[in-house]
Structures are given as structure tokens and as C-alpha cells.
């Protein structure tokens, strides 16, 4: 192979170099094309994926909020000897914390990207937060 390359005349060498350049250009063009054609399919697939991700995040926030608050209340009750009361007091707080987390999730950048056209909503992130606190 090396011997064959050495045996090339100058003209052939430049011809080969041009061919190599062309090949590189061609590959660049093909990569660009593939990237453009893949954009559509890629984004829809990742949207499905992140929709599932958002869904699992919302579910766990709700479930874990109540569970952890009640568990904490139960432990405190056992420690202080106030059997059911702290658990019952903390339960609505845990639920509220879960709901607040899900509301924050629905206003997050990821959710906006997923819903599409979230630009109008994302302009005033301060206002929904204030509303949410009024409701509590």
C-alpha cells in the first residue's frame, strides 16, 4: 500500500487529494442533511420521553409529599407520645407541599417546552407564584 502510494506521479497525487477533499465535503454535507432530516423525528421522540418523565415526576411528588409528611409525623408522635395528632396535622401540609411542587413543575421550563407556545406564559413567572401563595 505504502509502496503503491510512493509510486504515484504528482498528477495522480493531486487528483487523489482533490478526491479526498471532495469526499470530506460530501460527508459534511451528508451529516448536515441527516441532522436536518432527523430534527423532526428526534424532537418528537424526546418529547414523548420527557412527557413520561414529567408524568412520573408529578406522581412521585404527590405520593411522596403525603408519605414523608405522615412518616415524619408518626416518628415525632412516637418520640413525643402524642399518638395520632402530629401525623394528622402534618398530613395536609404534606399534601400541600406535593401540590405546590406539582404546580412549580407545571410552570417549569421543561413543561413549557413540552406544551409548546409557552412563551406568553413564561413571560410573567412571578405572577403565578403570587397567585399560588394566595390560594394557600
Amino acid at each position: 500500500m505504502v509502496a503503491a502510494n510512493l509510486g504515484l506521479r504528482a498528477g495522480q497525487f493531486f487528483e487523489l487529494k482533490l478526491m479526498a477533499d471532495d469526499k470530506l465535503k460530501d460527508i459534511e454535507r451528508r451529516i448536515e442533511q441527516a441532522r436536518l432530516t432527523q430534527k423532526g423525528g428526534d424532537s418528537s421522540r424526546s418529547e414523548e420521553g420527557s412527557a413520561l418523565g414529567l408524568a412520573t415526576r408529578a406522581i412521585t411528588e404527590l405520593v411522596v409529599g403525603i408519605t414523608v409528611a405522615m412518616g415524619l409525623g408518626w416518628l415525632l408522635d412516637r418520640w413525643l407520645g402524642t399518638k395520632p395528632w402530629l401525623m394528622l396535622v402534618l398530613m395536609p401540609f404534606g399534601f400541600a407541599a406535593g401540590v405546590v411542587n406539582v404546580m412549580r413543575l407545571s410552570q417549569s421550563k421543561q413543561a413549557d417546552e413540552l406544551m409548546g407556545g409557552g412563551k406568553a406564559d413564561s413571560q410573567a413567572p412571578a405572577k403565578p407564584v403570587a397567585d399560588e401563595d394566595d390560594e394557600d
Binding site: I27, G49, S50, L52, G53, T56, R57, T60, E61, V63, V64, G65, T67, V68, A69, L72, L90, F93, G94, A96, A97, G98, V100, N101, K109, Q110, A126, V129, A130, D133, D134, D136
Partner: protein, 262 residues
């Protein structure tokens, strides 16, 4: 009379359990077994199947990231390594901004380990490291404690402002502050339970449906077999997705620690 009846019941239960053991035992795959028993004093430091697969996951990531060639036109393996890197790098830049560069190695290590553990667990006969809550809770607590420490280092006591959102009227503070505190402290639990529950539920479902294939045999077994293939594909998606979600939430929590004020 009563004792014999109880014995008979327990006997049938044992028989049923033995029967079930043979066909469907979806829990068995999560059992920890000692492979190399090591004992130092009262400490049991045995290498278990969980530890072995964690080591395999680390080895697989190192092999992928360190031995992938660096050509201009990437090979398949190289483009896998590069797209993982770019995915996490883009995520840290997007969520944490320019400061994200310093946290990239940590986030990438977490992401790569969880991804490798999730995917390796899908090999039939393999052990899924992330299907145990102790593993995921340990990872989540590293993130949670780390982010809290960083928050206090960057802002001092001002980090407590996280629990007092701006613009809340004073009468509502007794309600809002406990809610904020609880929603802060459930973070490590929601982070770990999400990953662990997803992996465990998926693997149990695969085992149960695989049991149906055996039970129904050649005649009707192909129906659950088709479902099995579809669920396996879904599990591949879940494995990648949960690793991504874990890394994304790590970034979001770090972002809270770095910028309290907004």
C-alpha cells in the same frame, strides 16, 4: 382438630408457595447474595451480587468513555460516548448557566452510573443495582446534602430565604413556611423513590409476564411473549429516562442552591 386444620392450611400454603416458586417469583430477582464473603470484625463487607453489578456498571462506563476512539468521523461507540457527554453538558449549561461547568463532572458521573446500572439490569439474569432503595436513597442524599451545603456556603444564613418566598402576606407565613420546608425535605425521597420504584416495578412486571409465557406454553404463550417484547422496549425507554430525570433534578436542586433569590 384445630391444629390439624391449621397444619393442613399451612401445608397447602407451603405447597402453593413451592408451586409459585417454580413458576412466578418476581421478588427473587432482587435478593442480595454474597459472592465473596469478607468479614472485618463485626462489619460484613462481602462482595454481593449488587456490589458486583455496580462495579460492572462503573467498569462499563469507564470502558466506554476512556477507550472510545477520538476520530473526526466518529465510530458508533464514539458517537454513543459523545452524545452522552453532550446531553449532560447541554443540560448543565441550560439549567445552571456558565456556573454549570464546575458541576458537570459530578452530574455526568451520577447520570452515567445510573444509566449503566439501569441498562445492565435489563440483561436477562443480571442484577439491577438501582432497584434497591438503599442505593438510590444514598445517591439522592449525596445530591441533597451536597446541594444544601453548597447553598449555605454560597449564601450563609440567607439560604433560608428558600423557605420564605417573596411577596407572601404575613398572616399566611405560618402555612407557607412549613409547606416550603416539607417540600424541600421530601426532595431526596422523591428523587430516590422515583428511580427505585420505576426500576423495581418494571422488572417485576417483566418477571410476571415471563412467568405467563411459561405457564401458557406453546399454545397461548406467544401472546404474553409479544407483550413481553413491548414492555422490554418500554423498560429500555424508562431506564434511559429515569437516569436523565435524576440528572436533571440534580441540576435543578443545585440551581436552587446557587441562585436563591428568584
Amino acid at each position: 382438630m384445630a391444629t390439624t386444620a391449621a397444619e393442613a392450611v399451612s401445608g397447602t400454603e407451603a405447597a402453593a408457595a413451592a408451586e409459585g416458586h417454580k413458576v412466578i417469583d418476581p421478588i427473587h430477582q432482587f435478593e442480595i447474595e454474597r459472592i465473596i464473603p469478607i468479614r472485618i470484625g463485626d462489619l460484613d463487607l462481602s462482595l454481593t451480587n449488587s456490589g458486583l453489578w455496580a462495579l460492572i456498571a462503573v467498569g462499563a462506563v469507564c470502558l466506554l468513555m476512556l477507550t472510545a476512539p477520538t476520530r473526526l468521523i466518529p465510530t458508533r461507540l464514539q458517537s454513543v460516548a459523545e452524545s452522552l457527554y453532550e446531553l449532560v453538558f447541554g443540560m448543565t449549561q441550560e439549567v445552571l448557566g456558565a456556573q454549570g461547568r464546575g458541576y458537570f463532572p459530578f452530574v455526568f458521573t451520577l447520570f452515567a452510573f445510573i444509566l449503566a446500572a439501569n441498562l445492565l439490569g435489563l440483561i436477562p439474569g443480571a442484577f439491577t443495582v438501582t432497584s434497591h432503595i438503599i442505593i438510590t436513597l444514598a445517591l439522592a442524599l449525596i445530591v441533597f446534602i451536597g446541594a444544601t451545603v453548597i447553598g449555605f456556603i454560597k449564601h450563609g444564613a440567607g439560604y433560608m430565604r428558600l423557605f420564605m418566598p417573596a411577596g407572601v402576606p404575613a398572616p399566611l407565613l405560618p402555612f407557607v413556611v412549613p409547606i416550603e420546608i416539607i417540600s424541600y425535605f421530601i426532595r431526596p425521597f422523591s428523587l430516590s423513590i422515583r428511580l427505585f420504584a420505576n426500576m423495581m416495578a418494571g422488572h417485576m412486571m417483566l418477571k410476571v409476564i415471563a412467568g405467563f409465557v411459561i405457564m401458557l406454553g406453546v399454545l397461548a404463550g406467544w401472546l404474553p411473549l409479544m407483550a413481553l417484547v413491548a414492555i422490554y422496549a418500554l423498560e429500555l425507554l424508562v431506564a434511559v429516562l429515569q437516569a436523565y430525570v435524576f440528572a436533571l433534578l440534580t441540576c435543578l436542586y443545585l440551581n436552587d442552591a446557587l441562585h436563591v433569590d428568584h
